[in-house]
Symmetry: C2
Subunit: 304 residues, 2 copies
């Protein structure tokens, strides 16, 4: 089951020639989830050959423009391209009025159902789930209400070991119970333990996205042990005071959170335009947490 993140934008508040404002496309099997949608996101989706029509859920972390100014253009293009599939947007309450006022100004009645779900910034909260994955939001600490997002697979089913069920005459209807963990008792009353008959499922994979935030250890329980953590690192360690003041993070902040949360890998982004070469930022972070990379527009990270 493919589980990946495509980086569509990685700049801080002001786009540069190389980096668009923040947006990421999470793919899970045949579902696409968009996280944040800075100006130009629809062009980036086209540039990196992702499928716009596949997006059914859009998660907006907060209402600084570099995280959502591209949303109305994307909705408008969906409309003009004749989309009829429903779309869900999850974000802070004022986003709904921002969308509505712009649709009204052009007398646009969208051709597709648009469902708006207000995010909560007080607690860890389930936003969405389907058969195989759940998406949660959790509060971050910034100058506006901001949420991070956690994508976590549900525990999978156990897998039957073919060689071990041969000759046991298990009724096919029973298979479902075995992959859910039950033992099997044959007609002679012999018990076959489930862990003899099956392999355990692969461990559930997870991706956590920490948008604009100051260093905040309170998020650690929410992102504990994830396979991949994105954490903003707007500034290098030398700018720690500026980072504190603006409620952003440094490379060392991001790496410390990754280390304390015992994540498997860390990606950092949202770089201030002062850093043309970000290799120094990666080096700083790697001194605290070694499994770290700097994102660039167009990068794809596979999870698990």
């Amino acid at each position: 089951m493919n589980f990946s993140v495509l980086i569509l934008g990685s700049s801080a508040a002001i786009p540069t020639g190389e980096r668009n404002p923040t947006s990421q496309l999470v793919k899970y099997h045949n579902q696409s989830f968009l996280i944040d949608c800075g100006e130009g996101t629809q062009m980036q989706i086209r540039k990196y050959a992702a499928k716009m029509g596949g997006i059914q859920h859009i998660f907006i972390s907060h209402l600084h423009g570099d995280h959502y100014f591209g949303l109305i253009g994307l909705l408008s293009s969906f409309h003009l391209l004749g989309r009829d599939k429903a779309l869900w947007i999850y974000g802070p309450a004022p986003l709904k009025e921002i969308i509505d006022v712009q649709l009204r100004a052009s007398n646009t009645v969208l051709r597709f159902p648009l469902h708006f779900v207000e995010t909560r910034t007080d607690t860890f909260h389930l936003l969405f789930e389907h058969e195989r994955i759940r998406v949660f939001s959790f509060p971050l600490r910034h100058s506006l209400p901001v949420t991070g997002f956690l994508f976590r697979e549900k525990p999978g089913k156990r897998k039957i070991i073919k060689e071990r069920i041969e000759g046991l005459n298990i009724p096919p209807a029973y298979f479902r119970r075995i992959i859910e963990g039950e033992d099997f008792t044959d007609e002679q009353g012999k018990i076959y333990r489930n862990d003899y008959l099956t392999y355990p499922p692969p461990p559930p994979r997870s991706y956590a996205y920490c948008s604009d935030t100051a260093y905040d250890e309170r998020i650690i329980p929410f992102i504990k042990g994830v396979d991949l953590l994105y954490h903003e690192a707007t500034f290098g360690a030398d700018m720690q005071e500026v980072a504190r003041e603006r409620l952003h993070s440094t490379t060392r902040d991001a790496a410390s959170i990754a280390k304390k949360a015992e994540v498997k890998s860390l990606i950092i982004g949202h770089f201030s335009p002062r850093y043309e070469d970000v290799r120094g930022l990666v080096k700083e972070a790697s001194e605290i947490f070694p499994y770290v990379q700097a994102v660039a527009d167009g990068d794809v990270y596979f999870i698990g």
Copy 2:
């Protein structure tokens, strides 16, 4: 005095890999005027090395998103880059609320004075003037209220012919009256006619921008004889019925307006994404009006 137009975006409603949504930067001497501001305009300004800070006046033709979705991002970047110079925005009334609702959502109080001027769609109207140039709006015909814009130089001063004033003992204070067209009478009562003493000023130059519009001969008086006319040509001549229905123009419509208005040159744009190669569109238009070119992002046209 430099007078030029830089094409920042030339697509119709949906951006393509090659064309951004509509925007143009008019430069007149040391002033920059932005016309329309589709999504990604700030990135295009950077890409084509134009100076963002030089823009003091922004003219928005109408509130279809491909003509203004980039405005809020541009304002936001002005703010973040520490702009303090005042900015004037001219556009339909609802644009003010669209800007305000987004500034409120991020608790942003702009660092620079922003003046909003509502455009009128009932008549030819002076929007702005300075020492050397005037900008007018005029109504177009579309599914929303739309204005075109006319940039017209004021008539220049006459230029004194040095050889002819030698020995006439003209008091320096009198020079201003001569370049404004007065004759000169010397102490003996001899009259020197102004057209003997001076060259006429160069003819005033002009640029007209006709944003989204159906074919409409009522605009001809407003754009009569301009040096350069931009007129949308969303469709080829074979799509005339679709153009009529959607209140857009075809290549032949644009060329007919150019011909009837006796403009010097025509540029066409706002091409439907169905036209990857626009040479056929230019050929169609040129059969009616020969001095025509198709715009592409990054093109610069010098006026006069």
